[in-house]
């Protein structure tokens, strides 16, 4: 079974610095880390203390308010440091890796022939539950929920982002097994969104294939949910990243929590723009080397939604991309004149850059202006394929009007869906942050 999704509104951003499609083994990082802030709204309760020995796949912490949600170590080694921030919040759990991984054995299991409860228990006890995220709210899934459907997207349209199809080319069997396991978790469908033009994964079984075409954010799960089974208040759907499905599959095939991570290093300032095979939570410097932080920025994730890193910090739990782009801390004389500086990409027709839709642009982190009141209307709608009114929803979030937020479709969006709004809006409003705060308010008020 399959369905076509044709996205019309959106914006493909073409920037310099694509990764070439070659896969190399990354040098094994000395330290790895799991970062609890990657799991929004989770308060970690540590199981193992500093100095403890840990095996790959062994649980190191669980969620304080839901013990069934567990988080495992991707490597074997010694926990060398628990980095804490303000109010003793745990920021990083750093593990010094052994030369060779030793795994905790969970035992092999056939996902297809096992019953649903056993599959669910296996996924959550091994820490693979952390890969499953819930919509609405963009938080870790609660194992007690029965999701309406599960969505996986192997089509990434974000600028310079890693190509999931390339990552999965040698993990197809594991990916298929992972899908079989996920299928047990829902009474509804498992949707797999693929690039309509070309995909090697159209023959995957036990899924409803979504053939997606169109500009970014066509690859975002939010669009697929919206086009198939839109979320109403009280609904839960789950989403899993493409390579994470393969990790879940390996858990069933090999009995091990084998958290392989393939990371595309991209961006104009990255030295070696390739795909690196490593493990979850690797030190970013093992991939990009020492970066001059005043001149370039390291981002874990793509440049629209990623998180800024410094040298020797760790790649985020869900990220398959590391972006290194120039910092834009320079002045531009009379840069506000229309039709000048056309070498900077703009969706607005006040720049002539629209005449060259296929040109690959240089990009840096300059804000290209200053934050202003919301004045211009109609531009957010042009990059919002969901049937929501973006500006009105943002305003409802700013004022914390819960009823209005509900009415305008807050359940259907997560910050990532507003990434392009961040990019295009003239007033330089931080849309993703506003949506995140709005969602947090919904969690506390509605749950």
């Amino acid at each position: 079974m399959s369905k076509d999704i044709k996205v019309k509104k959106g914006l493909n951003l073409r920037f310099k610095g694509e990764a070439e499609q070659t896969l190399v083994e990354a040098p094994r990082s000395k330290t790895f880390a799991i970062k609890p802030p990657d799991f929004h709204a989770v308060v970690p309760k540590l199981v193992l203390k500093e100095g403890a020995k840990v095996q790959a796949g062994e649980v190191i912490f669980f969620s304080k308010y839901n013990e069934a949600v567990k988080f495992s170590s991707p490597v074997s080694g010694t926990i060398v440091e628990v980095v804490r921030g303000a109010k003793r919040r745990v920021l990083e759990i750093v593990i010094e890796a052994d030369a060779v991984n030793s795994y905790k054995e969970y035992g092999t299991m056939s996902a297809e022939s096992s019953d649903a409860e056993a599959v669910k228990t296996r996924i959550f006890e091994s820490g693979c539950g952390a890969f499953i995220k819930q919509r609405p709210y963009d938080i870790i899934a609660n194992p007690e929920d029965a999701p309406k459907a599960i969505y996986i997207s192997v089509y990434n349209t974000a600028p310079l982002a890693a190509d999931p199809e390339f990552i999965l080319q040698d993990q197809k069997a594991e990916f298929q097994e992972g899908i079989k396991a996920l299928k047990k978790l829902t009474a509804g469908k498992v949707y797999l969104a693929v690039n309509k033009k070309s995909s090697n994964l159209k023959d995957i079984q036990d899924v409803e294939i979504l053939n997606v075409s169109g500009p970014h954010p066509a690859g975002n799960v939010g669009v697929h949910v919206h086009e198939t089974e839109p979320i109403n208040g009280g609904d839960r759907v789950w989403t899993v990243g493409p390579e994470d499905v393969a990790i879940i599959g390996r858990l069933f095939l090999t009995g091990k929590f084998d958290a392989k991570r393939t990371i595309a290093v991209v961006g104009a300032d990255a030295k070696d723009k390739k795909y690196f095979r490593t493990l979850l939570g690797t030190n970013v410097s093992a991939l990009v080397g020492e970066v001059n932080e005043s001149a370039s920025r390291i981002i874990s994730g793509d440049m629209l939604t990623g998180l800024r890193l410094t040298n020797n910090q760790f790649v985020g739990f869900y990220d398959n991309t590391v972006t290194v782009i120039p910092e834009g801390n320079n002045y531009r004389m009379f840069g506000w004149l229309p039709f000048t500086y056309n070498n900077i990409h703009s969706m607005s027709k006040t720049s002539l850059s629209w005449m060259f839709p296929n040109k690959k642009y240089d990009v840096n982190t300059n804000l290209n202006g200053e934050e202003r009141a919301l004045v211009v209307t109609g531009e957010m709608e042009e990059v919002m394929p969901l049937d929501v009114y973006p500006m009105q929803l943002l305003k409802a979030c700013m004022t914390g009007d819960i009823e209005k937020m509900e009415n305008l479709g807050i359940y259907e969006v997560i910050p990532e869906d507003f990434a392009l709004v961040d990019y295009v809006n003239t007033s330089k409003i931080e849309a993703q942050e506003i949506i995140r705060l709005g969602l947090d308010l919904m969690i506390t008020e509605v749950g």
Binding site: Y331, P338, K349, N364, T365, N366, E370, L374, Y389, D422
Partner: protein, 389 residues
């Protein structure tokens, strides 16, 4: 460039955080950012941003206004000189017009920006660029002979009551430039309406007549202009609203750059044409009503209709914000403008009141458009509950 940057950084030093003049930072920043786009980098959210900013958008509108402004200056001189002498040179008319118009622009900017800067310092936010457009629009929609102090008072009213009282840029309900004009219109009617104000010195010199076409039509006197005169703008009127051709040039820039909403512009003219056409049809029964029998296409090119629809109705803050809402909003503006023109002889031109009226109704229009979206969502929930039962 580097040298200027270094000098500027030095000047800005005492305005930085924790220093003596920290409070006045918004004022100095406003001046600085007019020379340089600042070196601010993204701190949260998307790490890269589009090249557009509000300054760029506002300057685009100012550029779009320039043809109408230049024509307005020339026409202000020409309308006066052509009545008292045989031959009028281009530069002669420009000079005469510039003496009248430029001081008004200067006063409008000086007073308005003064208030904007004061509020930015007082409220601790950056100076918003919106007034660059408003400040130019205000003199452009005034009669040429209005005393400068009246311009100043109108500006004060528009910025304080029309904008800042609602919370500043982006929050105002009424278009500030039209608020200024409406204030002047009701506060100083003898300077803002009638037959003596539309051509320079017309109220002083008997030799100069200063009636607009709409005034003549309302009074039932003959109109000595053809459609081409009206289209090109060689007619008396507020400073920059007479030349439909120059206004359309500006409209073209606004639409091509997507700064002005083409939906509002198109539906505005459409609304006016519809209304005028209906009155044309009815006009046969009222042969004495010149306004009703005035051809509908001429209705589109006289008075401030074009200027209002292109430059005032498209103000994104006070207009409807949804696509559908913009169609309705624009259409009703055109419709009401012509209706007021024809029905109400006390207000020969209706565009100002039509836009202000629709400014007030724009949130309501949006409300109903958005309700459509909300209803769809609620229906979905209901359908789901039903299948669950």
């Amino acid at each position: 460039m580097k040298w200027i940057r270094q000098r500027l950084d030095k000047i800005k030093e005492p305005f930085s955080k924790g220093k003596k003049y920290e409070k006045f930072a918004p004022a100095i920043n406003a001046l600085d950012t007019f020379l340089f786009v600042p070196n601010h980098t993204t701190q949260k959210g998307a790490h890269v941003r589009d090249a557009v900013d509000l300054k760029r958008v506002m300057i685009t509108v100012v550029i779009a206004l320039i043809p109408a402004l230049i024509f307005g200056i020339w026409n202000a001189g020409y309308q006066y000189l052509s009545q008292i002498q045989e031959q009028v040179g281009f530069w002669e008319a420009m000079g005469e017009g510039a003496i009248k118009v430029l001081p008004m622009v200067a006063v409008s900017y000086a007073v308005g920006l003064g208030i904007e800067f004061a509020f930015a310092v007082f409220r601790g936010h950056e100076v918003n660029e919106g007034y660059l457009v408003t400040g130019l629009l205000i003199p452009m929609v005034m009669p040429v002979d209005i005393p400068l102090w009246m311009v100043a008072v109108s500006v004060v009213f528009a910025v304080l009551i029309g904008k800042e009282a609602f919370g500043g840029t982006g929050m105002n309900i009424l278009n500030p430039a039209l608020t200024a004009r409406a204030f002047a219109f009701f506060a100083y009617p003898t300077y803002m309406s009638g037959n003596g104000v539309w051509v320079s010195e017309a109220s002083e010199l008997d030799a100069v007549s200063g009636e607009t076409i709409l005034g003549k039509l309302a009074a039932g006197t003959d109109v000595p202009y053809n459609t081409m005169d009206m289209f090109s703008g060689l007619i008396p009127g507020s400073i920059a609203e007479t030349s439909t051709i120059c206004i359309l040039a500006g409209a073209l820039l606004l639409v091509l750059t997507k700064v002005g909403s083409w939906r509002i512009i198109v539906s505005g003219f459409l609304g006016a044409a519809c209304m005028a056409f209906i009155f044309n049809l009815l006009g046969g029964s009222y042969p004495n009503n010149d306004l009703m029998n005035f051809p509908w296409y001429n209705h589109l090119v006289i008075g401030g209709l074009a200027f209002g629809v292109v430059f005032m109705a498209t103000d994104p803050v006070s207009a409807a914000q949804t696509y559908k809402g913009k169609w309705i909003y624009g259409f009703l503006i055109g419709l009401f403008a012509v209706m007021i023109r024809i029905f109400n002889p006390a207000y020969p031109e209706g565009i100002m009141l039509a836009i202000l009226l629709m400014n007030v109704f724009a949130p309501t229009i949006d409300h109903y458009v958005i309700q459509g979206n909300i209803k769809k969502r609620k229906k979905r929930v209901k359908a789901q509950v039903k299948t669950a039962v």
